[in-house]
Symmetry: C2
């Protein structure tokens, strides 16, 4: 088993420098950090967390609260968060809240019981007033989620812009009746997105028909159901905005099975740019979120807050989305070279 001395020797640096890198001490040059990390990996050296914990009272653990790992958006987020955490010798604890407010509080308690050094909340199920108390024990960072009242860092995408741009694109394609789907209408994320959707309609002087609002659409089966519920209507929408690629794929798949032509008979937009959008034929227009960038910023801010023992104080990092236009909304998408 390699020791810290072995690492120092192999890296050609002092034991103190190695120790500083391990304890995520500031003021160590990037070049030295790299040398130490390479030597550690080479020798298979693993910092003793118990010892580290005694020295600086840290656990080396970070809890990430997500609704479900099976949601591709969140699994992609975790992937990047985990890699960024490993860089600084932190391990992630993934906690599935399953959209339960009670489970969320149970996991937030990991901060209080000193089992983790920080918490990343990707989707808040409780009111901020119920969460706020935990910031006494360590940093809580909102990533993807945001809340006007939260006095902690928030890293999120401009959801209003996403709702607005995708809808404006549909209007530009000539659509006047547009349906709206979202997954969880009580969340701040969904409501900002809906604001953008409504803003685009309003700007174009279009009315929204509440009959075509589907606010609990999460899976591809939900998409199938939505298609079935509108297909017989004479005054049905000619386009659908969705908050999920799976829902969009479910709608497209079912419409094709009924002999509809997409986008001629129905235009559909997805959300998240998952693999499925490129596999469907026609390919699905979607919103690309800067998942990687948001994950890296979240980890950077969290580690800084842990290091400085600064648990409260607002800090906002808003990221922009990208609309990827494909054949499900634009007949000439490929020919026109739009991507």
């Amino acid at each position: 088993m390699a020791t810290i001395e072995d690492v120092a020797r192999s890296a050609g640096l002092s034991r103190t420098t190695v120790s500083r890198v391990i304890n995520d001490h500031p003021y160590v040059s990037i070049a030295k950090k790299k040398k130490v990390k390479e030597a550690m990996e080479e020798l298979g050296y693993v910092p003793n967390s118990a010892a580290r914990s005694l020295r600086n009272q840290r656990t080396g653990m970070i809890a990430v609260l997500i609704p479900r790992v099976m949601n591709p958006f969140f699994s992609q987020l975790i992937e990047t968060l985990e890699l960024a955490a490993a860089e600084s010798f932190y391990q992630l604890i993934i906690c599935q809240t399953q959209y339960s407010a009670k489970k969320e509080l149970t996991y937030l308690n990991l901060l209080k019981t000193k089992q983790v050094d920080g918490v990343i909340l990707t989707s808040a199920e409780n009111d901020w007033s119920a969460i706020e108390g935990f910031t006494e024990y360590g940093p809580v960072i909102l990533c993807n989620e945001f809340d006007e009242r939260a006095n902690v860092p928030m890293i999120y995408m401009d959801q209003q812009e996403a709702g607005y741009k995708a809808t404006r694109h549909l209007i530009e394609q000539g659509h006047r009746k547009i349906a709206y789907c979202c997954g969880r209408f009580r969340s701040n994320v969904a409501s900002a997105r809906e604001e953008g959707f409504m803003m685009a309609l309003h700007e174009a002087g279009l009315a929204f028909d509440e009959q075509y609002a589907f606010r609990e659409a999460i899976t591809s089966s939900d998409g199938t159901e939505i298609f079935r519920s509108i297909r017989g209507d004479s005054g049905r929408p000619t386009a659908i905005f969705t908050g999920s690629d799976e829902v969009a794929a479910g709608i497209v798949s079912e419409a094709l099975r009924h002999g509809w032509s997409i986008p001629r008979d129905l235009a559909v937009t997805g959300f998240d740019n998952q693999v499925i959008t490129e596999l469907m034929n026609p390919r699905i227009t979607t919103v690309e979120q800067p998942v990687r960038e948001m994950a890296l910023k979240t980890m950077e801010v969290l580690l800084e807050r842990i290091r400085n023992r600064q648990y409260t104080g607002t800090e906002r990092h808003q990221f922009s989305m990208k609309l990827i236009v494909r054949e499900s909304t634009h007949m000439q998408a490929e020919l026109a070279g739009i991507q």
Copy 2:
């Protein structure tokens, strides 16, 4: 903040019984366990892990090593493992090995440094000889993975049966030239699957053409590439066995774009029964793994080993697969009522 006494009062049980439930003590009736858990949830009581740890030297943490959370098979496995762990007040630490043998050892070290009570290995990157030493410090369970030499519990699906049955199905459809795709040919999982594939060919007196073995096919883009590489061949296969729904979907999607008819021009089987197989048109024939059942058995065995402090000793639980026949291999699949 609720105390253990509050829980006892609310459940109408003694403090000792509550404590036994929290510490996962055997010999507590299921009815009492249920009462205590309900009271704990009702009151928002969270067992203090530090205190629990002092008493029984446990951390309440379990590490699950997976290649990548973004692989839907593994995210589905995690989902069930996490729910089963939470039932017994255990938290999961998800560790992404990214198929790196070094990272795997780093994470196995969590056992040695007493940061977790047990490890679930879903895909072993190291030889068993390199892993074995860690069983001195706590239980290591193989789930999905298996190794003839491992002296620990193994919970896995019969991969040979899966390879055999899917291939036999293709042969029954009249195919004589069948291509083979797998993701990682060095793993025991993949080699057992390939044995089954070869067994079915051999049984039917068919030869395998190594030119049509694709042993690093993981993503849908790999599927696209595979289609492109065979489409011009005059002696090309008429069917493809794949070890991944994404690869199968990539092949099908690209073939359709080239005007091919599936399964008439090419039959394709997937693996894992992911959502995408039902969204594609034609729907994709696939192998359904008993993910939920394997996850529950894994957690049951692991908790038992933690409780009894029994870290070595083989124990095998083999599960069976189910072939789901759909339109990508069987033209009349829907009409014939095969599902």
